[in-house]
Amino acid sequence: MARIGVFICHCGHNIAGVIDVGRVVEAAKRMPGVAYAGDYIYCCSDPGQAFIRQAIKENRLTRVVVGACSPRMHEKTFQEVLASAGLNPFLLEMANLREHCSWVHSEAKEEATEKAIDLIRMAVAKASRAEPLFAKPIPITKRALVVGGGIAGIQAALDIANAGFEVVLVEREPTIGGKMAKFDKTFPTLDCASCILTPRMVEVAKHPNIRLMTYAEVEEVKGYAGNFEVRIRQKARKVDHSKCTGCGTCWQKCPTKVPSEFDLGLGKRTAIYIPFPQAVPPKPVIDTVNCRYMAYLEFVRSGREGKPPPQCRICEKLCPTGAINWDEEDAIITERFGAIVVATGYDLFDPSQIPQYGYGRLDNVITSLEFERILNASGPTGGRILLKDGREPKRVAIVHCVGSRDLNYNEYCSKVCCMYSMKYAHLIKERIPDAEVYEFYIDVRSAGKGFEEFYNRVLDEGVRFVRGKVAEIFKGKDGLSVRFEDTLTGGRHVLSVDMVILACGLVPQRDAGEVARIFKLSRSPDGFFLEKHPKLDPVNTHADGVFLAGACIGPCDIPDAVARGSAAAAKAIGLLSRDEILSEPMTAIVDISKCSGCMLCEEICPFDAIEPQVVRGKRVARVKEELCKGCGSCAAACRSGAINLRGFTHQQLLAEVEAL
């Protein structure tokens, strides 16, 4: 039995042109609890707001119903009006007379008016059961976790650390640097990737506010924005990095050679290794699968018969600081953070999924990332462009949109392939001036600073652009044959080349699903992580306090990744700069006198926000309000109605139904 005020907005002609506002106001006056009803041409305008404020005061209103547009449009506006009139903002209820009535029933004015009266009656009924709601302040832990040590994660970590907050940067590989560390040059400026990246990597390693945890993975995230509790697994390196000086003796002398992951299998590394010369930290780990001594230990442990492998232990013997520690095991470290930046990056599309391109089957059909390594001075060929047999290619085809813009694989455009393909063409021309380079494209997408200019430059350099999809790559008489359709001239052709570079698209990391689960992220249909809003909230997520950076959101180039890293850092800094955050006011609440303690709610809660507690010897449910997002699944599941959802209580929803 509140004193309810009803305000009907004309919204100019938008509402009043269809709905008989006068009739609605008169009907509202007769509704139970309504102490005042009036109308205004634009309630959301400043004079409209003042009008409502004045009516609240003059009529001692305790609840307000505004019949206007969608609450998704102006709920905040009118909540602020209530607040400024001294009422709790949650004592507002909106009736959607525009989107749900006048606009969709403009041809049935009589029925629309009747419906408007019903909608007002429902809102009045709901408002009469509204209770004031309050957000609770929660203190925050002023540290950030950055997950992923690629350029985006590095940028985020540096920005947050420079703002004065402690950062832990977790990277699962033995070094930071990510994909960018594998690149030779960057487009379109043709900077040396490592030359610009390495100083940043070093800066991370040296930064007093950053603790670097390479060769480590996040296993579990509990808690909520401002207060996460994160379990991190530090994988066993078997090398005590506090003793190791990174002198390099061990990896120079290690007798075991295995394909290098960093070089995508094109080169070799040792069993005790750093991934590449500029690795950060510049200290090795032991690959326990391939290490001879580890194999020996495994053999002994298994009790198998026969000749054991050699014990080796050369690294241990040569290490000047005694840093080798065979007993080291994985360590679990639990840390608290206020904010998390997820910058887990992307994977390259695996072109062996397209069998007609022959990747993995045909020599000299290579992926773009492999070609980056070939181009790189510290790569397997020392930066010389060579075919498998050691010759220089004279004719090179670059196939665009491999796994992108293709309904069979990924519908989206991977954004960077056009540009890096042209970068390849330029570099090939630079290093093998007489080479013929063909770019097979669908459209050339060169939107970006200096991109179009670079395209023109490559055209000038004589690179041949063929508009058309490559149908097949097969072994020809002399090298490789590329069958394609030229969609400009319309003909089907076959071109003989020495090398084919597949400009593979960017896809989500293979374990993106697992990462999403750990951080409670959503994923868009393409499998990348979902932003809170693609336009207006591109680095926030639905998991409050978890921000996204880099290509885990979707394909992007280096400047984008850096910008996203900084953007995520800004969000994290914004959060960490506050002393406390406000909890969601619309949370579940337990009436322990009605609770049977069956804990069905606990099972259902998608946010682990419910736990049992014992009150006066009785087990009942308790809502962890900081975690509750207010979905109400628990309230709908509770048979005795012991759990309710503030803002959408049983009482409020039932009142709406009853008002029909």
């Binding site: 006198s593 009605k594 609770c595 049977s596 303690g597 069956c598 804990m599 069905l600 099972e603 259902i604 049992p612 010897g617 087990r619 599941a637 048979r639 005795s640 109605g641 012991a642 209580t649 049983h650 009482q651 039932l654 009142a655």
Partner: protein
């Protein structure tokens, strides 16, 4: 069988392992049975067991929380105990379950015993309790079902036009006097305050009559979905002859069809309404 039950109950009481043993004794008509709470070994001599022992004694376990009790459990009762354990209403360690192999129980009302099996026993697939500490009687060979499973009353009603079904239930629910016997006797109804007793929100309120009775009965049935083990006690307790068991049975069969779940069979199986499959065609 009766002697074994009495001896076991007397043992449990004498040794102090339980403070109370819940079983059956002869009712005041001298013909049917009623629940009996034995507190001493001497009293155990009053225990009986036969086809008149229709009550689902699991219903009493939540009342006894905090005490160690012994209980005689037919297969259906044992499923109820599982439901109660799963829902945190009974601590397994607090209950000593004397399971009893069951050949079915009869349709009895006070003063009027019969030898006709209760419908639920025709659909029951278990003759041995699903959980017990001590078993009385010989478990029969598998399969245990003594009667072909069918849900004939449910099917008969399903075949009728919607209008007739509506009329069928409307006339039954119109008679309901909201005495709550169905609820109070139900081993799955233990809420401290039932939705129907709540005055805010007013789901049904105090009014006795349609349409409030309809809301009550539909709500009750729904709250038992995936939890009812078909002991049919609600229907037996109803003084107004409302065929509540048909409703429960219909829901139980749907829950089994849609989610492959049967209440009380396994206390560890996830409750079908607290879990989901991302891809499932259930609508």
């Amino acid at each position: 069988m009766i002697e074994e039950i009495r001896a076991k109950a007397a043992d449990l009481l004498r040794s102090g392992e339980v403070k109370c043993f819940i079983g059956y004794e002869r009712a005041s008509d001298g013909l049917t049975a009623r629940p009996f709470f034995a507190y001493s070994a001497d009293e155990a001599d009053r225990l009986i067991f036969d086809g008149t022992c229709v009550h689902n004694l699991a219903r009493y376990l939540p009342d006894m929380r905090g005490k160690r009790v012994g209980i005689l459990a037919k297969p259906c009762d044992s499923r109820s105990i599982n439901v109660l354990i799963r829902e945190g209403q009974v601590e397994r360690e607090e209950v000593y379950i004397v399971g009893v192999v069951c050949d079915g129980v009869y349709r009895t009302t006070w003063g009027k015993p019969s030898r006709e099996l209760q419908p639920r026993c025709l659909y029951c697939s278990k003759r041995t309790p699903v959980v017990y500490d001590y078993l009385v009687g010989q478990p029969p060979p598998a399969p245990e079902s003594q009667h072909p499973a069918s849900i004939s009353e449910v099917e008969a009603l399903e075949r009728k036009p919607a209008a007739e079904r509506w009329e069928f239930w409307r006339s039954h629910f119109a008679r309901c006097i909201r005495c709550n016997a169905c609820r109070q006797i139900c081993p799955a109804c233990y809420c401290p305050q039932c939705f129907s007793d709540q005055l805010d929100p007013l789901w049904t309120g105090i009014r006795i009559g349609l349409p409030q009775n309809w809301v009550w009965n539909v709500g009750r049935a729904l709250h038992l979905a995936g939890r009812c083990i078909d002991c049919e006690e609600c229907q037996r307790a109803c003084p107004m002859g409302i065929p509540l068991a048909i409703l429960n049975r219909k829901l139980a069969s749907r829950v089994k069809e849609l989610f492959g779940f049967e209440a009380g069979m396994d206390p560890r199986a996830p409750f079908p309404f607290a879990t989901f499959e991302k891809e499932e065609e259930i609508l």
